[in-house]
């Protein structure tokens, strides 16, 4: 087990949800990890890559691979950005001098819940959160990283937490990066479906492993005057017994 982990904080979490990153640090330190944040990190390049601008994304991927090249273990509170590195860097950097390094790095980058359950082998992180919670399966974490039970396993071990499943938890919330603004009417229609399913679960809190989905879901919940609120998995796991 690595004693030292490097944080990969997605750019939008850094700028818009800094508390999520703070909570990741709290949980990792509670488990005894030494946490390092390479301050030069910016964006993995996914926004450009997804919108088809591979030539703009490539220098960012090169930069990322060099920056984290020597890290033993990288942890990120985002299934989507982890997917960018693990699944898409090898495509983006095919035939590139950094290809082998990128493939190697992809095996050492872990989504937060994946790291806790599969690498650290911890399902009980000592959290307490006495609320009714439902879990939204973020698409990249579910279908690219195959993380279905890991986050749920962590939630089941939170004291006082009641985990309830919503209908169609695997259905996309409609975020989808640039799609959310380019095709906002479709994105919102999908978001409304997600809101209905969250409401049907009766949960007070909806959580996930991707802050981007949650940002969209939160906006849709409030727009539709729904009761539930969003919280990143890391923020729930950071809650300690009072």
């Amino acid at each position: 087990m690595a004693a030292r982990v490097s944080l990969f904080i997605p750019c939008f979490i850094d700028q818009l949800q800094p508390q999520v990153a703070v909570d990741v640090v709290r949980v990792l330190r509670r488990l005894g990890y030494e946490v390092d944040f390479p301050a030069e990190q910016t964006c993995c390049g996914q926004p450009a890559f997804n919108m088809g601008y591979w030539d703009e994304a490539r220098p960012l991927a090169e930069r990322f691979v060099r920056l984290f090249g020597s890290a033993e273990c990288v942890v990120s509170p985002s299934g989507s950005c982890t997917t960018m590195v693990r699944t898409f860097y090898p495509q983006l950097l095919a035939g590139h001098a950094l290809y082998d390094q990128a493939v190697g790095l992809g095996k050492r980058v872990f989504e937060f819940s994946e790291f806790l359950v599969r690498v650290a082998k911890k399902v009980d992180v000592g959290a307490e959160f006495p609320h009714k919670v439902t879990f939204h399966d973020a698409c990249h974490a579910l279908r690219e990283l195959h993380l279905k039970d890991e986050p749920r396993e962590l939630l089941r071990h939170v004291r006082g937490l009641e985990l309830v499943e919503m209908p169609h938890s695997e259905e996309c919330c409609g975020f989808g990066g640039g799609f959310a603004v380019k095709f906002d009417m479709i994105s919102a229609s999908m978001g409304e479906g997600k809101v209905m399913n969250i409401e049907a679960s009766g949960a007070e809190v909806v959580t996930s492993v991707d802050g981007s989905c949650l940002m969209h879901i939160e906006g849709m919940l409030r727009r539709n005057q729904a009761r539930a609120r969003t919280m990143h998995l890391a923020s729930i796991l950071a809650q300690e017994a009072k």
């Binding site: 640090v25 698409c139 799609f179 229609s189 906006g219």
Partner: protein
């Protein structure tokens, strides 16, 4: 923006807010999901079956030259005709010329997406022929003068009440929503057509190379009537439909049925090898197969996306797609809607005109997860996006924005300062009450979502200030 893209956006706005549409589609998709769930659990190993289908189609698509010629040879040995159509026009012309030469007045059609693709029906109608769609769903959308909404269930967007009204108006049907009675109305009209048509047209679910036979799958038996009663039978299909061996159907048939409708096997599975032979009591006098290329060879040459030709047109990716459910089949403005259509159409009808569909996706991967021949659909959407940007289909403004984004992200300090400035500006705007208004700097986001609070500090600044949060 292309005309097709503008039209797509206009219809997407309309449909994604249409509650009635949403309810009908949700209901039908829930029915499908339940049937599919039961269906695939009947397999001892569904994923192994998918892998087998993938292998069969890989073999076929990578050896099209061999298998198509084998198929052609066998069909010709039995007295059938095979015509290779390079494009829609050649395909249409062959069938129209044949129909004119034989004095055809009435045509019955079994469901075929390729005939839609080459716009065969309008061409025949223009020549004064009467063309009947005989699949019930297809017949319904034909009466409504609409294209199919879905490649397997063409009238999925309609409820019983709408079908009752349609039959009342067009077929003097009774005032009932009872499905058997409604089916009986259609059957009365279509039976007459079956027995008076001179030509039957069908598609093909598979072309079996070693047997030299066409495999057709229907649930209503209309396929058999179209292909055995009229004196001429024309099969029109894409070149990618060939499979190597008859025994391949042992896996492909149940997998197609399960993915298409959740059935263990479709009700009527027919193999046809040629015209009626001496001593046979039924079957057509003439048998023609039109093999349509229409851009498929070019797709075959594209090593990255060649596997798109594996598609067996089961429709599972449409059902799994949250975008399809939100906007509906007609919004796409393409013959093949949904994920497979978004991937395929730029290859069949031009990247410039149809690249927007590859961007109209959240890339959730639901399609890839269900595809019975394991086409990496959502990653092909990414490839199409890259190809579109490479071809310069997007405005320079967007490209400049992306360059600026890259420039900002190439330096940690630059990102910290510019990110901080942007947040401050947004916080100021929100501070004077612009959040969620037309003047909100985050307007593209807040147009359809409640505004979000913008934090005063970034994580990187926190980390710096507190020396690692300590």
């Amino acid at each position: 923006m292309s005309n097709a893209a503008q039209e797509f956006l206009r219809r997407a706005v309309e449909k994604s807010g249409d509650e009635t549409h949403r309810k009908i589609i949700r209901f039908n998709m829930d029915q499908y999901d339940a049937a599919f769930g039961r269906g695939h659990s009947r397999f001892a190993d569904w994923d192994a079956a998918r892998e087998r289908c993938q292998q069969i189609k890989w073999d076929a698509v990578n050896h099209l030259d061999r298998y198509l010629v084998e198929f052609e040879t066998r069909v010709k040995e039995r007295g059938g005709h095979v015509f290779w159509a390079e494009n829609s026009e050649e395909a249409r012309k062959y069938v129209c010329d044949l129909a004119v030469a034989r004095g055809v007045k009435k045509v019955v059609k079994s469901k075929s997406m390729v005939t839609e693709e080459v716009f065969l029906t309008p061409a025949m109608e223009k020549l004064g022929m009467e063309v009947f769609e005989t699949d019930l769903g297809e017949y319904i959308v034909q009466l409504r003068q609409e294209p199919p909404y879905h490649i397997v269930t063409p009238a999925m967007h309609l409820n019983r009440g709408q079908i009752r009204d349609l039959f009342k108006e067009k077929l003097a049907g009774p005032d009932t929503e009872d499905p058997p009675e409604l089916v009986a109305v259609a059957r009365r009209t279509l039976r007459k057509a079956f027995f008076s048509a001179e030509m039957g047209i069908s598609g093909a679910n598979f072309l079996v190379a070693d047997a030299g036979m066409v495999a057709i799958t229907t649930n209503e038996g209309n396929g058999r009537l179209c292909t055995s009663i009229p004196k001429i039978h024309v099969v029109m299909t894409g070149i990618e439909k060939v499979v190597p061996r008859l025994q391949d159907l042992a896996t492909l048939w149940p997998v197609l049925a399960t993915s298409g409708t959740g059935q263990p096997i479709t009700c009527y599975n027919t193999l046809i090898g040629g015209p009626r032979r001496d001593g046979e009591v039924d079957g057509p006098e003439e048998f023609h197969v039109v093999l349509v290329d229409n851009g498929r060879s070019e797709l075959l040459a594209d090593a990255e996306q060649r596997e798109v030709l594996h598609c067996i047109r089961c429709g599972a990716c449409l059902n799994a797609c949250p975008v399809f459910r939100a906007v509906g089949g007609h919004t796409y403005g393409t013959i093949y809607p949904g994920p497979i259509g978004s991937v395929l159409t730029p290859h069949l009808r031009g990247l410039n005109e149809f690249q927007h569909l590859s961007f109209a996706s959240s890339l959730c991967g639901g399609c890839t997860e269900v595809c019975p021949v394991k086409i990496d659909l959502h990653h092909h959407l990414l490839h199409n996006r890259r190809n579109a940007i490479g071809a310069g289909t997007h405005p320079g403004k967007e490209r400049r924005g992306m360059r600026l984004f890259r420039w900002m992200m190439m330096d940690g300090g630059r990102f910290r300062v510019l990110g901080g400035l942007a947040r401050t500006a947004i916080r100021l705007a929100h501070g004077i009450g612009l959040a969620g208004t037309a003047l909100d700097p985050l307007r593209p986001w807040t147009r359809r979502r409640a505004p979000m609070p913008i934090p005063s500090t970034s994580f990187r600044s926190l980390w710096r200030k507190t020396n690692g949060l300590r």
